[in-house]
């Protein structure tokens, strides 16, 4: 949605909703850090969390510098122009047809790209070097996310007359990230002990915390996508409430039927999957349809996760199963359940089977582009600096190896180095007492 003519009037209420929604979506990235961070082993907890947090920095800056322009500045059907580099011309004026300043729109969208890039990390935790990761998501946000966002929301070929329905990013965010995640997982290869050792979540409460905060933030993600405090926002909020509820119920029933036990990790996953599935549909379908979509996403993801864990595909935190499958179910079912009376264009139930086809085209195009571009990007980055961590780093854990930190530290046996002691790079030879012990033991 290019927003050129500054003749709109600011609506204080719409602006308030969008401001709070922006803050809510910013919170989703730390929330994701906890969802992901709790699922890995403690020796990789900080690295995993930082894979999300760092996106708030680099991807955020890249969006302001370049991404926003490529996505939303006037361009062609495939990509936006360069007129808004560095947010040039994006200020406090309200564009014609809008009720919020264009700057607010730009930062709201910026929160989306940050979480999308961070989502990818779930597939490649516990084994990627941090510099290359950083470079990858930054470039990916510019070269993959921005064009795809342009296609759907920025005046590109998937939006407009073609009319793929994607209320808040089922395709742009979730399928896009999941396609990249699968390719990255394959490109990096599985963790060295994958399939041999049990790799268990080190802190399930953190997983629940992440899921709870993600749900909370997602109200801004879906609700804010209405861009105004209107009926559409109300519907999106309501559906963001009922779909994960239904997804959680569906998952718990499945687990009960199959194992007789409801798990916490499963419950947290179900919430996220329900949120993902309803994302493309939030402002277009009835609450009952949203519940159906949430439950359907839940069931589909459940079985895909079971299947995936038996393969050699180390999509470690199941980005594909949660975001890919969840997004797929949502993106297709919005084509089925969208109803004009609820604010969407007509879907299959309204007698428009074409919409399902349109949805499929959107999905395939996004997933295809994202997969290919991700592969090329990783290959290029790997040519400059290896993307995969060394075996030894993987063994001791990436927190110590790549960040020189431990998530939980008791301080025992830690020798304080004063300026005199410390010569970076020759650590072994300098500490007067214990380190020399090390040198000669």
């Amino acid at each position: 949605m290019p927003l050129p003519d500054p003749s709109g009037t600011l609506s204080a209420a719409d602006t308030t909703l969008m401001l709070i929604s922006t803050a809510l979506v910013v919170l989703m990235t730390p929330a994701l850090a906890f969802f992901y961070g709790g699922l890995v082993r403690s020796k990789n907890a900080l690295n995993t969390m930082m894979m999300s947090f760092i996106s708030l920095g680099f991807v955020g800056v890249a969006w302001i510098a370049i991404g926003y322009s490529l996505a939303f500045a006037p361009g062609n059907g495939v990509v936006g122009g360069l007129t808004s580099l560095g947010l040039a011309g994006v200020g406090l004026d309200v564009p014609d047809g809008s009720t919020i300043p264009s700057l607010l729109f730009a930062v709201f969208q910026g929160t989306f790209v940050i979480i999308t890039a961070a989502l990818i990390s779930g597939a490649i935790v516990e084994r990627m070097r941090f510099g290359p990761y950083l470079t990858f998501i930054t470039l990916w946000s510019i070269l993959v996310y921005a064009p795809v966002a342009h296609w759907v929301w920025g005046g590109g070929w998937l939006g407009g007359d073609f009319a793929a329905l994607d209320f808040a990013g089922g395709t742009v965010v979730h399928i896009n990230a999941a396609a990249a995640a699968v390719v990255a997982a394959i490109y990096l290869g599985p963790r060295r002990d994958y399939g041999k050792q049990a790799l268990l979540p080190h802190n399930v409460p953190f997983v629940l915390l992440g899921a709870g905060l993600l749900w909370f933030g997602w109200f801004g993600f879906n609700g804010g996508s209405a861009l105004a405090a209107n009926e559409s926002a109300v519907l999106a909020f309501a559906n963001t409430f009922v779909a994960p509820s239904a997804a959680l119920v569906a998952w718990a029933l499945l687990e009960t039927l199959r194992n007789g036990k409801v798990t916490a990790v499963g419950g947290a996953t179900a919430i996220v999957v329900g949120l993902v599935a309803v994302t493309p549909a939030a402002g277009f379908v009835s609450p009952l349809a949203a519940m159906a979509i949430g439950a359907a996403g839940s069931v589909a993801s459940y079985f895909v996760i079971l299947w995936r864990a038996r393969t050699r595909l180390d999509d470690s935190l199941d980005v594909m199963a949660a975001h890919g499958i969840g997004g797929l179910v949502g993106a297709i079912l919005v084509g089925v359940f969208a109803q004009a009376v609820w604010g969407g264009s007509s879907g299959l139930v309204d007698g428009n089977p074409r919409q399902v086809l349109v949805q499929l085209i959107g999905i395939v195009a996004t997933a295809g582009y994202s997969a290919v571009a991700t592969f090329i990007l990783l290959k290029l980055i790997n040519a400059v600096s290896p993307v995969r961590a060394a075996a030894r780093a993987e063994g001791v854990g990436l927190d110590v190896a790549l960040h020189s930190e431990e998530a939980y530290s008791h301080g025992e046996g830690a020798i304080l180095l004063t300026e005199r002691d410390f010569v970076p790079g020759v650590a072994v030879s300098v500490s007067p007492q214990l380190s020399s012990t090390g040198a000669s033991a």
Binding site: D193, K196, Q197, G395, V396, V400, S404, E405, E406, S409, E412, G413, A414, I415, L416, L417, D421, F422, P424, A427, V428, S431, L434, S435, T437, G438, S440, A441
Partner: protein, 123 residues
């Protein structure tokens, strides 16, 4: 009766357990410990503070065995815990005067002799 105390790498634990199992050694107790030896130490940084970590994570196994099992158990551990890099750990064989099984009060050999499977399924 002997108590075998072995310090090994955490990521070798599964292999060692398997080797012990295959040697028919049953029953053991493990503790998470920190070891200091010839391993390369690493430096950690927390804002302005730089510290040198003199310890590596290890796992300590404690296995009570009757005398004829000592060499078998030691051999199994030596074979399965080795990577060849500094830090593989040590094994200590300590004499024991008496062993009791708390559940039954059985002593010595009987205390560390495995249950026969049927005993277990009876529970």
């Amino acid at each position: 009766m002997k108590l075998i105390v072995a310090i090994i790498r955490p990521d070798k634990l599964s292999d060692v357990l398997r080797a012990l199992y295959q040697s028919e050694v049953r029953g053991l107790t493990v503790t998470r410990v920190n070891g200091h030896g010839g391993e390369t130490e690493h430096v950690e940084t927390y804002r302005g503070t730089t510290v040198q970590m003199g310890f590596s994570e290890k796992v300590r196994l404690e296995i009570g065995v009757s005398d004829e099992f000592v060499d078998i158990a030691v051999g199994a551990i030596l074979a399965s815990a080795r990577t060849g890099e500094v830090g593989d750990g040590k094994i200590f064989v300590v004499p024991v005067e008496k062993v009791y099984r708390i559940r039954t009060g059985e002593e010595d050999r009987a205390a560390v002799t495995p249950l026969v499977p049927s005993d277990l399924f009876g529970n």
